[in-house]
């Protein structure tokens, strides 16, 4: 393909090598035609986000050429990219929490009346855009109060407000429910009709088939192929993405034990601001059972976990573990029990990036008899045990002295999983255990969770990924607005759509409507 005017974006032979030696892109070619929705797919770590960051001027390219509407460009900062009509919706929300929706949308492109901000003129334009593309928003609400779906809409409004004609969306649906995703796609279709060009980064093949016109597959930092969506199949894209066929679904073995390991009884929890976030929640988990809690993030998951692990005092209700009442236990006491806990925030709660693998392993066990002689900590023994764990869990690292911060996300997650499972837990609490982790690590971690279940541990799995919940759980609790609105056996009759309805508006028998 030549650089004719049809191609609004053309990237030729792109290389991006980070200073630490990581090769993110090695010879990517990427072309997008005007007025199409172009899906950019690949596994985590395939180089999609890096490619788009280079395009948007957030990263500097190592080699290669970029053309926008046929003109060669070399953006040094997002400012230049925005000026040439591009906009990007990032994976993480780029919002200022204390600002109102309107202030966020206008940020960096404020309208001026003399030296002051002209908030009125700004709002008029926002309302126009909002109506045109069906992106509703309450412009005077502070952003920290918004739901994830609403934040996503603000991001898109922001891009449109900045007069972007080419819009890059980086995994916009990762945190959305199926219904919210559908709404987003409606807006995107309206935009394309109006002459906008959209690049959609995703790894969900269903979405590619649903909405895109063309699809480019990346693997290991290289372009594998660009296809017309209408001329391909989900299976073809999948095999191009991972270079092998996916394994079939796992067999589920029903637990024979009737012993209840963990029970939550009429639990109410308030967050630190005093808002009731967990409402009258009750469930129990038996030996050898995985209880999955499905729900959009921010519906009370973190408060539930914080209350269980003793970070927040519950307002009322009880928590039982192994027959003992552990309500309101301190985190120190909780961590002494044989309970594994994989937190959702890997880099802050789960690991200490500036400490070694060994130091990360012993956070719970360092005061145990194994390593401890009076006040003296036996580092020799600690290192030996750490080497064993590194081998057993196939963690890729130079040595047990390597800093965790120097390792990849998947390996860090494995360090956490190894630490928690080596406690030989009879209860495992896993929160978003595979978020942002490469596919082989996801599979490894899933297998480890199943293995624990089969060994007789009770597992509490909290995830926003419906496929993860449905693939692993024996029972599924649907979480909506702090309540478990339904609990179902995970059998063949459960569908993604059904769960989606529960976790989006708390009821099964009603179609989704705008809040």
């Amino acid at each position: 393909m030549g650089a004719d005017n049809q191609n609004v974006i053309e990237m030729k032979d792109m290389y991006k090598i980070y200073p630490n030696g990581t090769v993110a892109n090695s010879g990517v070619n990427f072309c997008v035609k005007r007025g199409e929705i172009h899906a950019l797919v690949g596994e985590n770590g395939a180089g999609k986000t890096t490619l788009m960051k280079v395009l948007f001027g957030l990263e500097e390219k190592t080699k290669g050429a970029v053309y926008i509407s046929g003109k060669e460009v070399n953006f040094k900062s997002p400012r230049e990219a925005i000026a040439s009509g591009m906009g990007m919706v990032h994976q993480e929300f780029m919002l200022v929490p204390s600002y109102t929706v309107a202030q966020n949308i206008a940020l960096g492109n404020e309208k001026k009346k003399r030296i002051f901000c002209d908030r009125k003129a700004e709002k008029e334009q926002m309302e126009k855009i909002s109506k045109q593309f069906g992106l509703t928003a309450d412009f005077d609400e502070p952003v920290y109060r918004l739901s994830v779906g609403a934040k996503q809409r603000i991001e898109i409004l922001k891009v449109l407000y900045n007069n972007a004609k080419i819009i890059i969306l980086d995994e916009p649906t990762a945190v959305l429910t199926p219904q919210e995703t559908e709404e987003l796609f409606c807006s995107l279709r309206l935009m394309v009709k109006d002459g906008y060009t959209i690049v959609l980064i995703t790894h969900k093949i269903k979405e590619v088939m649903d909405i895109s016109d063309s699809v480019t597959v990346l693997r290991n930092g290289q372009t594998i192929q660009t296809l017309k969506t209408s001329e391909t199949t989900p299976d073809e894209i999948t095999s191009l993405m991972i270079g092998r066929q996916l394994k079939p679904k796992r067999e589920r073995i029903k637990s024979q034990s009737e012993k209840t390991v963990f029970q939550v009884d009429h639990l109410n929890v308030m967050d630190r601001r005093g808002a009731l976030k967990v409402k009258d929640m009750s469930f129990s988990i038996k030996q050898g059972e995985i209880f999955g809690i499905a729900g959009v993030e921010g519906n009370g998951q973190s408060e539930l976990i914080d209350a269980i692990i003793g970070f927040l005092k519950p307002a009322s209700g009880r928590v039982f573990y192994d027959g003992k009442d552990i309500t309101g236990i301190s985190t120190s006491e909780f961590r002494k029990e044989p309970i594994g806990y994989i937190p959702d925030d890997r880099n802050l709660r789960g690991s200490s990036l500036s400490q070694s693998v060994a130091e990360n392993f012993i956070i719970c066990s360092h005061s145990g008899k194994e390593f401890n002689k009076g006040p003296y900590l036996d580092w020799k023994e600690v290192r030996k045990k750490s080497r064993d764990l590194i081998e057993e869990y196939e963690i890729k690292t130079d040595s047990e002295r390597a800093l965790v911060g120097s390792m990849s996300g998947g390996n860090v997650q494995k360090v956490i999983v190894a630490r928690e499972i080596s406690k030989k837990p009879d209860l495992l609490i896993a929160c978003q255990p595979t978020r942002g982790v490469d596919i082989s690590s996801i599979e490894y971690i899933h297998n480890k969770i199943i293995e624990q279940r089969n060994k007789g541990a009770a597992v509490l799995l909290i995830s926003a990924e419906l496929t993860e919940i449905m693939g692993l759980s024996d029972k599924i609790g649907m979480l909506y607005n702090g309540e478990l609105v339904a609990i179902r056996e995970n059998d063949d009759t459960v569908t993604e759509k059904e769960i989606g309805k529960y976790i989006l508006n708390g009821r099964q028998d009603q179609d989704v409507t705008e809040e």
Binding site: R335, L348, S351, Q355, I363, D398
Partner: protein, 352 residues
Amino acid sequence: MKQKLKNTNLLSTVLSIVIAVLLGCLLILLVSDEPFLAIKSLLVLPLSNAFYMNNIIDKVTPLILVGLSASVAFKTGIFNMGVQGQFYIGAFVAAIAGNYLIGLPTGLHIAAVFLTAVGGGVLYATAAGALKAYFNINEVVTTLMLNYIATLVTSGMTNSYFRDPDSGGVIRMHYIPEYLELKEISTKVTAHSGFLIALVMVGFVYFLMKHSVLGYRMETVGKNRVFAQYGGLNIKRITLICFAISGGLSGLAGSVEVLGMHRSFFDNFASGMGGDGLIIALLASNHPLGVLLISFFFAYLKVGGQIMQQNTDVSRELVLIIQVIMIMLISSRMLTPYLNKRKFAKEVKKSG
């Protein structure tokens, strides 16, 4: 790989020190009428005779202790800027206990003096620690305020209530009884034996930070508070213990100065001590052995600065300026990338 990184860090520290000293010399050349005598006084004379060398050892003793005090706090991620205040409290309490617990058997009296002085430092630091641990009040502001309070209150006490009537123009307390004094180490090494206490404390802090359970916990809290909390560590308790140890070391430094050097509490007698402690800890990357080395270097500069001020027209504040240049160079790791690049280039050459 890690070893190599460490070496580069060490090299950059040494290089920073050299550059800072050279810049100091340059400043002397600019302002002094007799620059060569000044430079000689600053850098050569301190090592020229036994008197100055003993002087260095006398000066290094409190520096090691306040350096250790600051490094324990920094390692736990706590900015205890209040070393100065804790030092004064320790010194003041030691002088009071030395002067007024008369009648106790000698051994008991010595023990009482140290215990009360260390206790004073511990309590004074833990006050800020408690505000931090229980109410989450920023320790930087409170400890800085506590420095002023300690300086003024001890000064007021000494001026108004505890002043030795025979002290003439100097504002100080009575001299402590002779049996409490820290004796000379030997007939040759005439520095006082507080130096040995400081060495023992280096060993203690080394064991604490590198080989103890508490040290692991403190470091983990310092590196990642949230992780430590989710791992089940009791942050409040560790914060308090850290303040207590840090304050205790500062208090000990104060008492050693009183018992070994001054034999009394003088009004505002060591105003730069806290700052020196913080700078030493920073330059030593909070490593106890590093604290020992850097303290020696500082004591050497201090003695040199004094000789320089006596002999020439250059003020000893120059030493402080050199120290600040050092912190700037080291804390910003300005030189590290340059050194790494060179090392990298060398390795490429070797392998290629």
